[in-house]
């Protein structure tokens, strides 16, 4: 068994080509933002009924995935599974880069992004949004320190353990905060549920792990490095477990809502009569994002079939986006019940299902966030020793893997 060696990515056309592609998407997102800022949000599909749209789906996906991407590192350092250690650095880098991408989308969609600095010094501590600003920036700092303890020489084991534990607790707080953005909304029948926080934590485990595995597969493919099939299989099965946990929380979320008469209307909408949202829920979230990935990831031949891992992780990401779309947009599409027991109508869409058609501007902004996250991670891998050069099965301790 060799000692794990980390090396910067070599300057190959594939590496720089992918960077250029990401940069192009980031540039397109920048142009979208300028266009929206110049004309106002009237050029987007969002309106006074659907106030958060596709950009928020991307932003929250990336933010949630960011904390999940740290899983791999936490499993190694906090829970002592040594086999995960060689990929801990990449896990930390991805956690920071995904968060940066998500935050970029979130702040660039603000009505007044130029006033962002205001949010840095005028805090309203009763707002979970304000808390999230601290949680997000703090997460970056904590993970950066943790990464330092992973990469620097001569760092005492206790310091590494402390940093990893702090980062793990912080990522739980971060996702609790993100879920609570919705969970604490008493006004809307689709939200207002404490289960949002644990649901978002479960989602982060799955989305973050899927993003990590996709980046790992992509990086090792274009650089001809090895992604230990043993480790890959382990992680794929763990991803399958995370998907099952998300499915479980989703089940409890809807069952408990159906039980409350006040929420049966919105549940009927999402699960049965909501048109596009119902189709997205059953086909996108449950079938493509849940059942099929589980079949693929728990397949007996997954250790030899890399394609199953790739497809499974891709579907988890796709299903995750759909799940957030159903939660965010579907939740707003259902009309607010201001007058229970009455049928209502008005010039302001009272009592009707709200419509939303996202524009390319919003899509470009969202994809730009993903591209920015990948670009930051790519640059880190290019210039820092993040990815192991020799992560073969021989170099991953099988005894540890078998734990």
């Amino acid at each position: 068994m060799e000692r794990i060696v980390y090396r910067e990515l070599k300057s190959t056309p594939k590496v720089w080509g992918l960077m250029a592609l990401c940069a192009a998407f980031v540039g397109a997102a920048g142009l979208s933002v300028l266009y929206i800022e110049h004309h106002g949000h009237i050029v987007t599909g969002m309106n006074n009924q659907i106030v958060w749209g596709l950009p928020h789906v991307f932003a929250i996906f990336l933010i949630v995935a960011a904390s999940g991407a740290l899983n791999v590192s936490s499993i190694g350092s906090v829970f002592g599974k040594m086999a995960y250690k060689p990929v801990a650095r990449l896990s930390n880098v991805l956690a920071v880069s995904l968060l940066a991408g998500g935050l970029a989308v979130l702040v660039l969609d603000l009505g007044r992004p130029d006033r962002l600095v205001l949010a840095m010094y005028t805090y309203n501590f009763t707002s979970i949004f304000a808390w999230n600003i601290l949680l997000y920036t703090g997460f970056m700092a904590v993970v950066a320190v943790y990464l330092y303890t992973l990469m620097a020489r001569g760092v005492p084991a206790k310091a590494l353990k402390a940093a990893s534990l702090l980062a793990f607790v912080w990522r739980l707080a971060l996702t609790t905060g993100t879920g609570s953005i919705f969970g604490w909304l008493v006004a809307r029948q689709a939200y207002d549920a404490a289960i949002m926080a644990p649901l978002f934590i479960a989602m982060s485990f799955a989305f973050g792990m899927a993003m990590f595995m996709l980046v790992m597969i992509l990086t090792t493919s274009i650089t001809s490095r090895v992604y230990s099939p043993e480790l890959r299989t382990r992680q794929a099965r763990l991803l399958g477990v995370f998907v099952a946990v998300v499915m479980y929380f989703t089940l409890v979320q809807h069952l408990s809502a159906i039980y409350v008469a006040e929420h049966t209307g919105v549940e009927r909408f999402i699960l049965l009569e909501g048109g596009i949202y119902t189709r997205l829920f059953w086909v996108g979230q449950i079938l493509l994002g849940g059942i099929i990935p589980m079949i693929l990831l728990f397949h007996p031949k997954i250790d030899t079939q890399k394609i199953y891992v790739l497809l499974g992780a891709l579907l988890v990401v796709l299903g995750g986006m759909v799940q957030l779309y159903v939660i965010i947009v579907g939740g707003q599409a259902y009309p607010l019940e201001i007058f229970p027991g009455f049928e209502v109508s008005s010039s302001f869409s009272d009592g009707v299902i709200n419509s939303y058609t996202p524009t390319y501007l919003e899509l470009m902004l969202g994809l730009g966030g993903v591209a920015l996250a990948l670009m930051i991670a790519g640059l880190a891998m290019k210039f820092l020793r993040i990815v192991p050069d020799n992560l073969s099965d021989d170099n991953v301790d099988p005894a540890v893997l078998a734990d």
């Binding site: 800022e37 004309h39 106002g40 949000h41 009237i42 309106n47 006074n48 009924q49 106030v51 958060w52 603000l110 009505g111 007044r112 992004p113 006033r115 962002l116 205001l118 949010a119 005028t122 805090y123 309203n124 009763t126 707002s127 979970i128 949004f129 304000a130 600003i133 953005i181 604490w184 909304l185 008493v186 006004a187 809307r188 707003q332 607010l336 201001i338 007058f339 027991g341 009455f342 049928e343 209502v344 109508s345 008005s346 010039s347 302001f348 869409s349 009272d350 709200n354 419509s355």
Partner: protein, 250 residues
């Protein structure tokens, strides 16, 4: 020796009064229509009635479905326009109700309910959404970053987001692209001592008299007497938000 009470401490009071009057003087001298509300701390003190809780009482029984005088008056007073787009702001809207169980139809205006515990204030990350001491819930357009979380949090859809550039604004109602806005209970009229709002004025002018404005905390005010005498209710009372707007005959 007689110890002066706080009120009798002449020096402090007179200094505060002096500053207040200075601010008021500056407001008057500079220009009519230019409101320097940000200066002098509580420069609006002229209109801020101590202990007041401004509110509205709306009698749905007197509100004809085909009348929208309150909506037009608000639009005119504050300079917002509803051209039928989903992106257009609506500070106040007429809602038609049909009781599911009985089929009885009704109509009433809905606007910001000026909650005692406003969810929009709780969720606002920068504190731009705030509640004045007299219960009026406002948006500070200078610190609103346009995140729209208040719109997600409002149970009454009382807030609108400005989706495009605005020209010809009313000097009494600052508005801006990319920020959130909503009924401000005609705060400028209250502060200058009009004692009413544009919607209530318009409603009374039609002769329907479906809307009443006043200080809910003043037991002798018409609105306080009315709510103490006749049954009235809050919208979504189950949320326990303590609304400043009450309805009769829904």
């Amino acid at each position: 020796m007689i110890i002066p009470t706080k009120k009798e401490k002449g020096a402090e009071v007179s200094r505060r009064d002096f500053l207040k009057s200075g601010a008021a003087l500056a407001t008057v001298t500079l220009a009519p229509g230019v409101t320097l509300m940000a200066f002098g701390g509580k420069a609006q003190a002229d209109g801020l009635k101590p202990g007041a809780r401004w509110g509205l009482l709306i009698d749905a029984g007197k509100c004809p479905e085909d009348c929208s005088a309150c909506v037009s008056a608000c639009s005119q007073e504050h300079g917002w326009e509803d051209n039928g787009l989903d992106t257009d702001p609506q500070w106040i809207r007429k809602v038609t109700l049909k009781e599911t169980a009985t089929g009885r139809e009704n109509s009433l205006p809905v606007m910001c309910q000026h909650c005692e515990s406003p969810p929009c204030v709780d969720v606002c990350p920068t504190g731009a959404s705030f509640k004045r001491e007299d219960g009026i819930v406002l948006v500070n357009r200078h610190t609103c970053i346009g995140c729209r979380y208040c719109m997600m949090a409002c149970p009454f859809k009382a807030r609108s987001f400005v989706h495009e550039q605005i020209t010809d604004q009313k000097t009494t109602t600052p508005r801006g692209n990319g920020t959130v806005e909503g009924c401000n209970l005609c705060v400028h009229k209250i502060d200058r001592g009009d004692g009413t709002t544009a919607c209530v004025e318009a409603c009374q002018a039609t002769g329907n008299n479906a809307m009443m404005f006043g200080d809910l905390n003043d037991p002798e005010s018409e609105i306080a007497v009315a709510v103490a005498t006749y049954a009235s209710q809050e919208l979504r009372a189950d949320l326990g938000l303590g609304l400043g707007v009450r309805y009769q005959n829904i």
